[in-house]
């Protein structure tokens, strides 16, 4: 698979039934304060142009076929940025009747259709700050170090 280009990254925004919070913050990345364009990031309207797919929303049943079509069409994409709680883990409605529940559940469905799981950066937040998304993009490009790690604490058995 093609490696992600560090100087030029075109992103395609894919909404799978999100509340708009993340979508606006995605747009906000391109506003003057954050100005993602200075980092060579460009928002494109066609999945064919995309290097990275910015994925938001918990995947509603109504939206599922559309989302699959869009992912199938983005042949050139090399990474997915799962933005927000909904995309990362289904969010507050992860288990309701009309929600598939986050991008990992979507990948399970895609796997059966023979589409491999693309490298995915999870960006938690509800919604994440635009800077957090930029950080996620830099992580996908390999220009930032991952700060978040799994933490496990095990209480040691001590005498009472």
């Amino acid at each position: 698979m093609r490696r992600i280009d560090r100087r030029s990254t075109w992103v395609f925004h894919l909404n799978s039934g999100s509340c708009n919070g993340c979508d606006i913050e995605v747009l906000n990345m391109f506003a003057p304060r954050q100005d993602a364009e200075r980092l060579g990031v460009k928002l494109v309207g066609s999945p064919l142009h995309a290097d990275v797919i910015v994925f938001t929303g918990p995947v509603t049943l109504q939206a599922l076929p559309y989302v699959i079509r869009a992912l199938e069409a983005s042949a050139g994409a090399v990474a997915v940025l799962a933005c927000g709680s909904c995309a990362c883990g289904g969010g507050i409605w992860h288990d309701t009747y009309n929600v598939v529940g986050g991008i990992d559940k979507l990948y399970e469905i895609l796997k059966e259709r023979g589409i491999p799981r693309p490298p995915t950066v999870y960006v938690p937040g509800c919604p994440p700050k635009p800077e957090a998304m930029l950080y996620g993009l830099m992580l996908a490009r390999g220009l930032a170090r991952q700060k978040q790690r799994k933490q496990v604490y095990v209480e040691e058995a001590r005498e009472k």
């Binding site: 003057p32 304060r33 999870y122 994440p128 930029l134 991952q146 978040q148 799994k150 209480e155």
Partner: protein, 169 residues
């Protein structure tokens, strides 16, 4: 008409408002609701946060000798209810927002606490820390009650009340 266009163009003289973010860190205001962190030394595994958490990002379950409090950041909505309800002040929302990670596993925090077995029936019912926490609140002569599971405790106290009332049955 031309004047307004020129006014727009003349903005070019001003300094850009863009920050230098990935290269220079940005500051967040005090009280920012960032990544929640459980202080594993303080947590007693009571589950108050799990009950309060709207999305169910926090979960609690028993595994072997341990009670596991699990926080999955990928589902967290950063509301801070866990911080509000924690009796020990163990959960705290920090100012960390750079939480992006390449694997879903990295978004997990687990606190495994040892379970206490009921001194009567031998069933595991609460963490040792929780028992100790309850113990401290009780009078010294009642402390043994804290080591009973809720079922046994109910039985025992029912009996005790019976004795107190002078009922022999």
């Amino acid at each position: 008409m031309v004047a307004s266009r020129i006014a727009f163009i003349s903005e070019i003289k001003k300094k850009p408002v863009t920050e230098q973010y990935p290269y220079k860190p940005i500051s967040v205001p005090e009280g920012f609701r960032g990544k929640p962190v459980i202080d594993p030394e303080k947590c007693i595994g009571c589950g108050a946060c799990v009950n309060a958490c709207p999305p169910g990002a926090l979960s609690i379950y028993d595994e072997g000798n341990y009670r596991v409090v699990k926080l999955f950041l990928g589902r967290c909505i950063f509301c801070g209810r866990c911080q509000d309800v924690c009796p020990m002040g163990a959960v705290r929302l920090t100012d960390m927002f750079e939480l992006a990670s390449l694997s879903r596993d990295d978004l997990v925090q687990e606190v495994r606490l040892l379970l206490e077995k009921c001194s009567l029936c031998g069933k595991a019912f609460a963490t040792r820390r929780e028992v100790r926490h309850v113990e401290e609140k009780l009078d010294p002569e009642q402390r043994w009650l804290a080591h009973l599971c809720p079922r046994c405790r109910a039985l025992v106290s029912a009996k005790m009340i019976g004795y107190a009332r002078g009922c022999n049955r």
